[in-house]
Amino acid sequence: MTSRSARLAAYCLLALHAVAALPGFFAPYGYAVQDRDFPYAPPTRLHFFDARGTLHLVPFIYGLRPDEGGSYAEDTSERYPLRFFARGDSYRLLGLIPSSRHLVTVDAPGRLFLMGSDALGRDLFSRLVYGGTVSLYAGLFGAALALALGGLIGALAGFYGGRLDSVLMRTSEVFMALPWLYLLIAARAIQPLDTPPARALLIVILILGGFGWPRPARLIRGVAASIGRREHVLAARGFGASDLYLLRRHVLPRTGSVIWTQGALLVPQFVLAEVGLSFLGVGVSPSIPSWGNMLGDLQHFHVLTSDWWWLGFPGLALVFVTLAYHLLARGATVTSG
């Protein structure tokens, strides 16, 4: 049961990360493309039946026209069928390969707002996809950095013990006691205001990883210490095994389950950390979308009262990712136990 839910979670996360890795293709529009004619548009409705009741196998949308109440009404005079793998805004796949194909889009002048639009008429679904790239991979790389540091430090401390162990573990306690959120804010604050978003993201990742290592380090230290004291490690030493060999072949392979479980717990934690920072405006600046700075619009009153879709989707995405990672972590714990 648990393993099945964990496997499902793993597949979902894999799919999600694949989407986030190729945002240009999965998003209908670029994250910065504005359409000033359609600010605050609600999610576009997909239709299968037109006004005369005819069934269309490929869903279509109608254009929008502003109505008197400051909202929008559908203009049923023209249908815009969804177009798959069609050309649209150009982007670079993985930042390298120029392309303009999109998974799904509609012909201009129709606009496809699957999750509505923001004040500048930008497609929120596209921004959510691009924001996922930032948020998910900030979490992932941050966790990878924390685990690499934690694994190295923990394995050394546990394997060698003694003074090195004391020094490393006391250092980890200092790091755990530091209020990393304030440090992050401080580190961000000393950067100039025009810090490019990519650099801001790098800083976020470095700080997440640089302050996240103590917990995995302490767990891995325990495993390494118990493996390192086993007699087969002593016996291997008696046959001429070097420290490096013992760490590589006897200690590190045994820390695998701890590393995976910790990873599955750290990633959502770090995704949330990035979201929190960007929400506060000290993470990734709003010119590049992240789930955090998208949720930052929560600070606008009208969002709460009328433009619910601004919040709903990034929030849901966040809940989904966190839940999936925790299912994965539980599965990993059960399997390794």
Binding site: G161, G162, R230, E231, H232, V233, L234, A235, A236, R237, G238, F239, G240, A241, S242, D243, Y245, R249, H250, P253, R254
Partner: protein, 338 residues
Amino acid sequence: MSSHLQSERPSLLQVRSLSVEYSRAGAAPVEAVREVGLTIQPGEAVGILGESGSGKSSLALAITGLLPPRGRTTGGSVRFEGIELLGLGEADLDRLRGERLAMVFQEPGLALSPFMRVGRQIGEVLRAHRTVSAAAARERALDLLSAVRIEEPDSVYHAYPHQLSGGQQQRVVIAQALICEPKLLIADEPTAALDTVTQAGLVELFRTLRAELDMALLFITHDPQLLAALADRIAVMYAGRIVERAPADHLLSAAAHPYPRELLRCVPARRGGVGRDSSPLHVIPGMSPSLSPPPAGCAFESRCPDRLDRCRSEEPTEQPLAAARSVACWNPSEGPPR
């Protein structure tokens, strides 16, 4: 090679007044090995006989540089093939261990990694020391499995340690130890965890392998009968010191020190017939002394049937007794035991 030339060969291992102590938190350190000297000639089999806590394992660990972090050598020298091992860097020790001298531990089940197939564990010892291909290491590992008289080398090669019996596991460990054809094999109670039949098989294996490989053997045990079958010379350890050394047959038939004499009396005698021996088993009264710090006089004094007054205050020094024999006792006995 003539016996004359053999005596001209330099010692393979020369241990001089080696001391080992273990530090303890908030207490005086334990002096587990006290000024022990030991010489092993190439190809020779030396047995160390002693009870638990006599320091015999610490001696072996100190020789191979494998003492746990709490333990350290506080003096003396260990020369192996002319190289001083004490103070030698870890990298140099790593090159030596497994290649020139190898060690076999008491619990074969613990000495093998439970996560690796045994064939690979044997081959990796070779690959740690020689530049050989994986295929060649595999070939050699299979040879070694046959050499240690494993019945089905191919299936054992692919087995995990837990799938093997204790005797098979110990044979695998011995194969690991021998794959580089070391000049000295140190075996620390290698048969203690095994049943008698398996034990006998392993003792036989040690005997034949030693002859085949012209390898010296330092065999550590609490069981005098094993040494009778294996060792050329025996050194008896008690409370961190060597109290007597003698050729194996001399020691087992006519020990001079009261401790080995008493120890040998503890081995139940085999007499003809079944159930006829109803005499109570012999027990040495008392316990071995604390070594933190060691007693001022002879460590065996409180348990000794032949003690003198001076035994309490003066520690006996090792005295030559006859050719290749010595004893550390103020009142050694002559002739066969009572």
